[in-house]
């Protein structure tokens, strides 16, 4: 998790429109954000698109970052992008088709040991509802505190804890 103090000069540079500062942020966050999108959509291409959309949005919105947890702020944008994506009817249809294809190809790939483990998780994740899946991925990839996650989701911390606990427990059962 990047510390806000380390990020401060980069964020200031981004606000001034320095491309090299944006490049640094891309290098720091691209993997985690891609993982977040990939685990939610199960689709490489869609994850590529969403990641690109996120960074372009970052350029537009960086001036509205007024302090606090940058990771929380960035993942909030990512979460909004993911839900916007889900809301798009066409995209949703595409997602369902992609998921179907993914499941079929995953079954075939399930024989291979290394990939098997990755795909198994992806298959089991699809069995969770979108909200729980998003919460688990937000917690895992954003690495922000529960307090921050509860704030991002505009819900009491007890609700967030309970949903995450139930979701992770179910995921564990599915994986076993």
């Amino acid at each position: 998790m990047a510390e806000n103090d380390d990020l401060a000069p980069m964020i200031t540079g981004c606000k001034k429109g320095a491309p090299e500062c944006f490049s640094q942020l891309v290098d720091i966050y691209a993997s985690r954000l891609f993982g977040y999108f990939y685990r939610l959509t199960g689709d490489n291409e869609v994850s590529d698109d969403l990641l690109s959309e996120l960074f372009v949005k970052l350029v537009e919105k960086i001036s509205s970052f007024k302090g606090g947890s940058f990771d929380g702020w960035l993942f909030k944008i990512a979460s909004n992008i993911f839900y916007d994506y889900l809301r798009g009817k066409q995209r949703q249809k595409k997602l369902l088709e992609a998921q179907k294809k993914q499941l079929e190809s995953n079954k075939q790939k399930a024989q291979q040991s290394d990939n098997d483990r990755i795909d198994k998780l992806q298959i089991q994740l699809k069995k969770l509802d979108v909200d729980t899946r998003e919460l688990i991925m937000l917690r895992f990839y954003s690495q922000v505190s529960f307090k921050e996650i509860a704030k991002m989701r505009s819900e009491p911390i007890g609700t967030t804890l309970s949903k995450l606990h139930r979701g992770l427990k179910k995921l564990r059962e599915l994986m076993n």
Binding site: M1, Y38, S63, L168
Partner: protein
Amino acid sequence: MNGPNEENLKELFERFLNSKQARRAVEDVQKAEQILREHPAPKPDKELIADIKVKIARALPRRKVNAFRRIAYKIAAVAAALILITAISVKLFEKSSGESGKKIATTSTMPEIIWESDDTAANDANLATLTAEVEQIESEILALQLGENNGNGYKAVTELEMELIEINSDFWKG
């Protein structure tokens, strides 16, 4: 990905669960997160990262134009609001001036019934009759005051007053 944050999970869960349940919940969370760590998601392609950086470089000048546009829109909106407020103020001022003029007119001595009537000829005739009768009464009162009615002054004044009241009430009835 180690230790997402420095939160004390047990302490957090103990706010809602008893100690034993909280310990079990923490274990559940840690074990499930261990599964996630053991199954890393794929990494983004280098081409994708390069492409994103190009997109950012393209988006930066656009952001400057957009920022300029936003400022221009704000200035235009403020100017429009000022013009609107000024126009409304002027209109209100004119209206209030007009209303005070109207008040003066309504307090004039002209009876409202005549002022609002469309029958000008009839009203003029009524006014002429009233004026003539008032003048006649005036002259009779003057004569009485001068002692011209042979000592029957009190009764004559009362009769005149009655007549005046009658005329007046007839007039206002139309």
